[in-house]
Amino acid sequence: MSHSEYNTERNSLAYSVEKNVEVHAQKCYQCGKCSAGCPVADEMDLPPSMVMRMLQTELAANDEKILRSHSIWLCVTCEMCLSRCPMEIDIPSMMDFLRQRSRSEKKVNPKAKNIIAFHKSFLNSIRFTGRLYELGLILDYKRQSLNMTQDISLAPKMISRGKLHIFPDIIKGKAQIARIFKKTSN
Amino acid sequence: MSDFEPKVVAFVCNWCTYAGADLTGTSRIKYASNVRIIRFPCTGRIDFMLLLKAFANGADGIIVSGCHPNDCHYTSGNFHAKRRWIMFKELMDFMGIDMNRITFSWVSAAEGAKWADVVNTTVTRIRELGPYVSYKELVNKSVEEEVKNE
């Protein structure tokens, strides 16, 4: 079997990662330096080096575990892993891809609910105004996350320090922003 | 076309393909007897003009073969040959000369079986293509032209 034939038969997650973000999981030799430097590794169900290893197996069961993991949502994109990786593997880009894939396949880990709720609220906020409306964001997030009591004491303090607008900033190009959102929705 | 026996000439390097063909012999692997081998020290030595001369002298097919990249006895002769064949092939294609009649291959001293395979596939292909009539006609016509000019 030639290499090219082999490639066309692959439909693993690792292959998708290669195709979409040019990150080659096979480059990883499991030194663990990414996990060692990752600020949230101890919160993760699968530290970054484990995600790499599971991708390498190209087994459907492992691909599934990755897409359903909490880890991919806990990655804060601090880029420490990439900056120290001896093989220069772009784990942050890979994580972005895995998150998007996890969502598109509806495999999001339930524990990541709040994180995604926040991201969605954030994008909702700018979708209609063009800029972030922080108060709106907080209220929308509370609605989405059903986390009504959190930060209840923060908002008044922010307002008293002039750090929270009561009304949103709406840009002139908001229609264009809406179109951008529409065209890029996947 | 059943009695057509193609003439195939093989230009090979001494260290890999010639030795590989020796191994085909010591392994008693049988292959088509249409091939005639010409030995060179290295593929780097093979002048592209010789390939044209082979066709001009009636060859229906040609094999050019040497050491695999990185295995050249002289370190880099085959790399230079490779570039030469790339250019040659493109030029031949552009002039409409049938490159299906030339097989380029890497056959190492350990690849006795591959040598037999290279010869057999080439001979089979040339058998299908038939004699290189257009080239032979060109040569014959040219002889006539010369006679006319004189």
Partner: protein, 667 residues
Amino acid sequence: MARIGVFICHCGENISATVDCGKVAETIGKLKHVAYSTEYKYMCSDPGQTLIKEAIKEHKLTGVVVAACSPRMHEPTFRKACAEGGLNPFLCEMANLREHCSWVHEKNDLTTEKAIDIVRIQVEKVKLNSALQPIRVPVTKTAMVIGGGIAGIQSALDIANTGHKVIMIERSPSIGGHMSQLSETFPTLDCSQCILTPRMVEVAQHPNITLYTYAEVESVEGFIGNFKVKIRKKAKSLDEKTCTGCGLCTTKCPQKKIPNEFEQGMGMRPAIYIPFPQAVPNRPVIDREHCTYYIKGKCKICEIVCPTKAIRFDQPDEILELEIGAIVVATGFDIKHADFFPEYGYGKYKDIIDGLQFERLASASGPTTGAILRPSDGQVPKNIVFIACAGSRDPAKGIAYCSKICCMYTAKHAMLYKHKVHEGKAYVFYMDIRSGGKNYDEFVRRAIEEDHVNYIRGRVSTVFERDGKLIVKGVDTLLGAQPVEIVADMVVLATAGVANSGAEDLAQKLHVSYDAHKFFAEAHPKLKPIETNTAGIFLAGACQNPKDIPDSVSQASGAAVKVAGLFSQNELTREPLVAVVNRTAPPMYSTCVGCFMCQSVCPYQAIEREDFKNREGKIVKTVAKINEGLCQGCGTCVALCRSKSIDLYGYSNNQVYAEVVALLNEY
């Protein structure tokens, strides 16, 4: 008029079972210029060879074709027979009827036809063969060994013991190399100095070895057997013959704060110094860069105290010109230092040291007389972390290869530490343990099982300092990348082995290839690991890639055998199958037009420039010239030359052209 003799061999029945040898002999016999054609059962047998010898005389043959087995088998046999029969051996060719015909085809007319063609090709070729004489090159039986580490020492002694002269040059003031810096050696833990020092002394005392320390190669010209080498003997600023090596000057020198190279910067030395107590030669040199006299123009205390008046401040560098027959390159390696590692603090933490520094700490003759102490405060480290693969296998840092020796010396370091600090804890962060070698893996197991060194599989992300301790952050990848944080007193980096400084420069002077990492390149990775692509120059030790002592020593002895083999002859004879650039009468001199594209295809740097001058001495033409000492006869230049000014003996344009024509024309 050519008179060719053709001898068809039956090879028992190997050929005659499928090829009609009689018909071949008969058909060939009718060809133009074939004076004699015959067949015989075994051409390679004595009677067969006699047949050839007699026919040469009887039929006044000008060329011989033996149609038998592969020339790769018996060409030397038949060429020798021809020579004995009075014919130049290069007027003999073989037609391969066995491997290329009888063994690979069925018995039929086509096979016999092919056999006839095969013989015909060689007949046409041999008509155009020329009588060639083997190339003879005289051999200067003096070897030069560059580098005085263990590889150079071994090679020099082995060559010297075969009775040949050796010039050893070493750029530092003493021979000994990295091995002299080591404490104990794996896997036996015997003391490095104890096994090395006697060999160093032997070099100094050997009647066949001339040692030049503080010397470097300036230039190399010529070719195998005939190199002309210039070396620069840097001024030591003293008369070595007068100096007794008493060392008084070194104790009185007021400049004492120069980082000691031998101690890897962990100790200080004066400006006039002997690198280490066992140095060979045991004579000081003045480091002019740091000497007060050379900087400020006054001091001269060494001169005042010297009991034998040996100091020579105005001594110049000396250039020596040497005739050398073979060269062994044994320039060794270097390691990356802690400042190479941003994530481990760019070298700013005193207690993060490299492997060679640890060797000095562990050495009984080192700055701490063998006690493992923190460089920062002289305390005994209670927790020590060894980080393997520091820089090696790290493409991001430009070093993709494995440095090979680190796994073993890290195990040794951890062991030595545990032997000296019994209550201490030693951790090794590793990725893989590469301990192939005799008794090597057993050694690593001992470190783990008997000395309780804690091996953790994972790479350290960062090390930083807090409250005088080093915080080492890693993971245990065998526990699902569980975080590991060790509060260490000292960290030892098993840093990558890299090419020695100046390796590239030297390789260029020697015209020897080197790889992307500036390590010297061998001629063939498997079958010519000691040779370089320049004939007569050999490699020994870690200048080729990081190597441990046994490997370096083995290769050094191998290189010595190569040299001794070369020196076993007074002249080198080579097959004259080399390329030649034609020469014509002035004013043309050659049809070569001097584009020198051949120079860039030649793998052997065999193509030189030849200037032709007119009567006024002005250069009127520059053309290519093949150095037949270097040419290996690949012929790539021949096929490239547009004006057909280069040809190759044995495979000339005329010959190969005739073969093509012969092959296909009707007969």
